[in-house]
Subunit: 198 residues, 2 copies
Amino acid sequence: METTLDFIKSRRSTRKYKTEDVSEEQLNQIIEAGRFAPSGGNCQSTHFIVVKNKEILAELANLTQQEFAGMEITPGLYKSIVNSINLSKKGNYVFHYNAPVLIITANQKDYGNNIADCSCALENMMLMANALNLGSCWINQLKWLNENPVILEYMKKLGMDENERVYGALAVGHPDTADGLPVREPLKRTGNKVTVVE
Amino acid sequence: METTLDFIKSRRSTRKYKTEDVSEEQLNQIIEAGRFAPSGGNCQSTHFIVVKNKEILAELANLTQQEFAGMEITPGLYKSIVNSINLSKKGNYVFHYNAPVLIITANQKDYGNNIADCSCALENMMLMANALNLGSCWINQLKWLNENPVILEYMKKLGMDENERVYGALAVGHPDTADGLPVREPLKRTGNKVTVVE
């Protein structure tokens, strides 16, 4: 019980990874954690596309940069997308922090809980990675570009179905820290307002 | 490590609760778990509206039924919404399984990660409830009705800000089972396809 809250509170985003691979056993536990997330009406339609191939990861990074570089900045665009476009135009965009594994979560595009279900699965996987002393980081670019024809076509080549779209992804790997463990100091919560109605 | 995967895998939805209240300490741990979920750009904009007041919970249930009862079933409408409308028209709609607490997660309506951030927070809270031997269940109705003027007005009375909308909620309470513990037998995962790209 204390352990669960500890692992929940100590989860942090890891943005620097060693080249060392994640073991098959650890990866299976992370995916298992994701698969056991709840889903609307227990439909279990989240599709986990686990990319371990280095060339494909590099190609995904290149395509993402290429597509962002071709985009225009319009008023009201989310600041992180603006940032991605600007960095991509300069050719130094960081996609997945060179993590050895990227777990992409896709779901049915016409299903109202697609983002919610994928997010619960991603959260479970982040916690599981943390419990295994692995680092992880939510990668949102493929979600932002999930209707981009080039990315869509590439995702289909990787096994995504016609009616599916990407709603999030997770970089996973060994943290490149002095002790090899994830940064665990929890960030302060100054936001996340709580209103109690008693 | 094993504990974390155990709690993740054994989490189930609880749909029958005792009238017994959740202790202040347990509720604080659950909310704390939710607040420590990640957010886009660490914006921490998820707003937790914790409803413990029985009259207000009953009123929310009544308003939800009233609003669903006034809706028409249109082609392509999600089956659970169709179900909610049909049951509400008959006057026997179950909103939150009479749980003693409902934690509503709201977020900025113009923020692209609103659903994702609320979902991660909800998943953390479900896991924490499970670790505390409490039951929980995702309640989606206030999300479906989050632009309904009657529900919107009521949510504002409960403390939701002008620019916020509801993106999910969680019923929490003591499970009404023989041993008082949550049902923990994990549901089989026959869906949740995994595609490995090696």
